[in-house]
């Protein structure tokens, strides 16, 4: 899509105040075109440019100093003078710097966005213009990230996820406080509530420095954003414990425990060189997971579940209601004594997880938590499950038998020798709950309104055992909701029930505009 170059009259574009103080009248979601934070070029790679500039300046400053003091030494600048090349080189360097500055300035000027009642729209590019729109009712989540450097200058990166690969709209960077307001406004607009709520909370601050310090010291989750009772925190001790008890750590320790004595006995010191990179890699994974999960909080807000984490670089993601396509609650074997679980989700927007875009939170929504935490987070993720409290205990730790779940018949032990008792399902009014695994306990919940299709499968082995499998199809993600073994007749009934439920709950679902009847907060 191309669009004629915008005339961009200055008065029509209220540029963000450089210090990012939110002016209540300067809400960004007003349907007009806006520009990004002025520090954007530097935050998006201009730092390297500045460094080059700095090196140049430093060299020439040394040269000036030397001239003044009178030292004579062979250095590149002397050579340039000797060959009469100083002026061309200096001129070239200055031109390069100028072109860079102009380029960054222009790309900043041409990078604009607006938020209307229907869409979020971004246009950018100097020569090759691109324009991208995201429909508000298709928003799958909003991710607000503050890398450490950006936090220092009071900027934040807002990423609006829509369904599909690489389909996100990124606004990098915005003023920190503005980004908070914009996120709230976009969510409010997307919820279908009427425009025109209370203005942003104006914060009175005396100066730039104090404001920076305030922002750096502020709690990761603004207390006004979510009711305190809905917030689930993860204590640092538990994070460390969960990491120590993870498979990665166990392998790490095993490698060391076997490797060190072996090297010491055999005297084969070169072997260390071979293992070293792998050890560093594993150590890196552990440290990375630890720093990412520091100050982790999950909270319910009127506009969805908010997951925030990070100590120096912070990130917080808001997933509106009805964007969660399935939820898996799992317990690695080593976590069982501690009673810990983790929760992963399938989201339409997650795409390929990458460390940079904060997708760790997108897929592993709760890195570690007790059964109590699981209950609270599940109530936030799937509020329709309200009133089925007993269900969670049964599904997590139940051993099978006649416990409300329809479990696999004993003849399924040929296929599930240990877990057949526990392998089963139950249908609530809003969700399909699948339970499996006796060693690695797993519970998968699929909201019926998110079912894309349902399959009933049977191969020769299951046919001989009069068993069958039922697969629920949801958007791609780390979870494949499948009931692998069930009595054939039960599976046929479940298939028919799910096919009906997928249609009726899908048609009754209104979460694409989750607050259409309400008004803006």
């Amino acid at each position: 899509m191309t669009e004629p170059l915008p005339a961009a009259p200055d008065d029509a574009l209220p540029v963000a105040a450089p210090d990012g103080v939110p002016d209540p009248a300067d809400a960004l979601a007003d349907g007009e075109w806006h520009r990004l934070h002025p520090a954007t070029p530097f935050l998006r790679g201009g730092v390297a440019f500045l460094a080059i500039l700095g090196v140049l300046v430093a060299n020439f400053r040394d040269r000036l100093v030397e001239l003044a003091v009178g030292f004579q030494e062979e250095d590149p600048v002397d050579l340039l003078i000797d060959r009469n090349l100083l002026l061309p080189v200096l001129g070239g360097a200055i031109a390069f710097v100028l072109i860079g500055i102009v380029g960054f300035y222009l790309s900043w000027r041409f990078h604009q966005f607006r938020v209307t009642d229907e869409v979020v729209e971004v246009r950018s590019g100097i020569l090759f213009r691109t324009q991208r729109q995201a429909r508000l009712d298709r928003i799958q989540g909003i991710n607000l990230q503050r890398p450490f450097l950006a936090r220092l200058v009071g900027a934040a990166r807002l990423e609006i996820s829509v369904a599909g690969q690489d389909a996100n709209v990124r606004l990098a960077y915005l003023g920190s406080a503005q980004a908070d307001v914009l996120r709230r406004d976009v969510l409010t607009l997307a919820s279908g509530a009427k425009r025109g709520g209370a203005p942003a909370v104006a914060r009175v601050r005396s100066g730039l420095l104090e404001q920076r310090v305030d922002e750096l010291l502020a709690p990761e989750l603004d207390p006004s954003e979510a009711p305190a009772e809905s917030v689930v925190h993860i204590p640092p001790g538990r994070i460390i414990g969960s990491l120590l008890l993870s498979e990665t750590t166990v392998i790490f320790v095993l490698v060391l425990a076997v490797g060190i004595p072996w090297v010491a006995i055999s005297g084969n010191w070169y072997a260390i060189l071979g293992v070293f990179p792998a050890l560093i890699g594993m150590g890196g994974v552990i440290v990375n997971r630890f720093t990412r999960t520091l100050r982790y909080s999950i909270a319910g807000t009127p506009n969805g579940v908010r997951v925030g984490y990070g100590l120096l670089s912070t990130s917080s993601q808001t997933i509106p209601p009805g964007r969660i396509h399935s939820v898996a609650i799992r317990q690695p074997l080593l976590w069982r004594p501690a009673g810990w679980w983790h929760i992963t989700t399938n989201l339409a927007s997650s795409g390929v997880p990458s460390a940079s875009s904060g997708n760790v939170a997108a897929t592993r929504l709760m890195p570690v938590g007790t059964q109590d935490d699981v209950a609270r987070v599940l109530a936030l993720l799937l509020p329709d499950l309200h009133g089925e409290e007993g269900l969670l205990d049964t599904s997590l730790t139940g051993r099978g038998g006649d416990d409300g779940f329809v479990n696999a018949p004993p003849r399924a032990r040929w296929l599930r020798p240990f877990s057949w008792r526990r392998t089963g399902f139950t249908l609530t009014s809003s969700a399909l709950v699948l339970r499996s695994g006796i060693v690695w306990r797993t519970v998968v919940l699929v909201p019926q309104a998110r079912l894309q299709s349902v399959a009933l499968v049977q191969g020769p082995l299951r046919r001989r055992l009069r068993l069958a499998g039922v697969h629920a199809h949801t958007v791609a993600g780390p979870i494949a909701p499948r009931l692998e073994v069930a009595d054939a007749d039960v599976a046929v009934t479940l298939f028919a029930d799910l096919a009906v439920a997928a249609v009726t709950s899908g048609a009754a679902d209104t979460t694409h505009r989750w607050n259409a009847s309400g008004s803006a907060p």
Binding site: L456, G459, R464, A476
Partner: protein, 160 residues
């Protein structure tokens, strides 16, 4: 052997018997190519390669042998709110797709299908696992079915 699954009573619409030709052509060409490679590898004395391709050739032959049964197993029903598809004899698979969940419908024609006047309809939902393709539909019927389903999907459109 226990009986096969028959989860939904009612008339299944079947695909054209000419589809057997398409599947035969695919399986047979696979068998022939694999056999040629196997023989060539045997002549050159590369034993394991020869064995691997011989196995592939046998699989191709078996696949060709059961092609008529497989084609008979394809079936679909247009129910009130969803499309029901079935395939497979040994490995049976039934899929129900609500009309409102269909994101797009492709019509594909391979060279053999085109010669026989057949098309296949491929259904795409937001879930990759859905993976439903109805092969062996006469061209006219495929287009009519596509138009009808797109219409149904439009009137029952739901979110993701």
């Amino acid at each position: 052997m226990a009986e096969r699954l028959e989860p939904v009573p009612g008339d299944w619409r079947r695909v054209s018997p000419k589809q057997v030709g398409v599947e035969l052509a695919g399986s047979a060409s696979m068998a022939v190519i694999a056999a040629i490679v196997a023989i060539a590898a045997f002549v050159l004395g590369i034993g394991f390669l020869s064995a691997a391709f011989a196995v592939a050739a046998v699989i191709g032959l078996i696949s060709a042998a059961i092609a008529p049964g497989r084609v008979r197993s394809y079936g679909y029903q247009l129910r009130d709110d969803d499309l029901l598809f079935r395939r497979g004899l040994l490995y049976q698979r039934f899929v129900a797709i609500p009309y409102g969940r269909m994101q797009l419908i492709d019509i594909n024609r391979g060279p053999v299908s085109r010669a026989l006047g057949l098309s296949e309809l491929k259904f795409v939902t937001a879930a990759a696992a859905t993976n439903v393709t109805i092969p062996g539909l006469p061209e006219q019927e495929a287009e009519a079915l596509r138009d009808r389903l797109v219409g149904l999907a439009e009137t029952r459109r739901v979110g993701l």
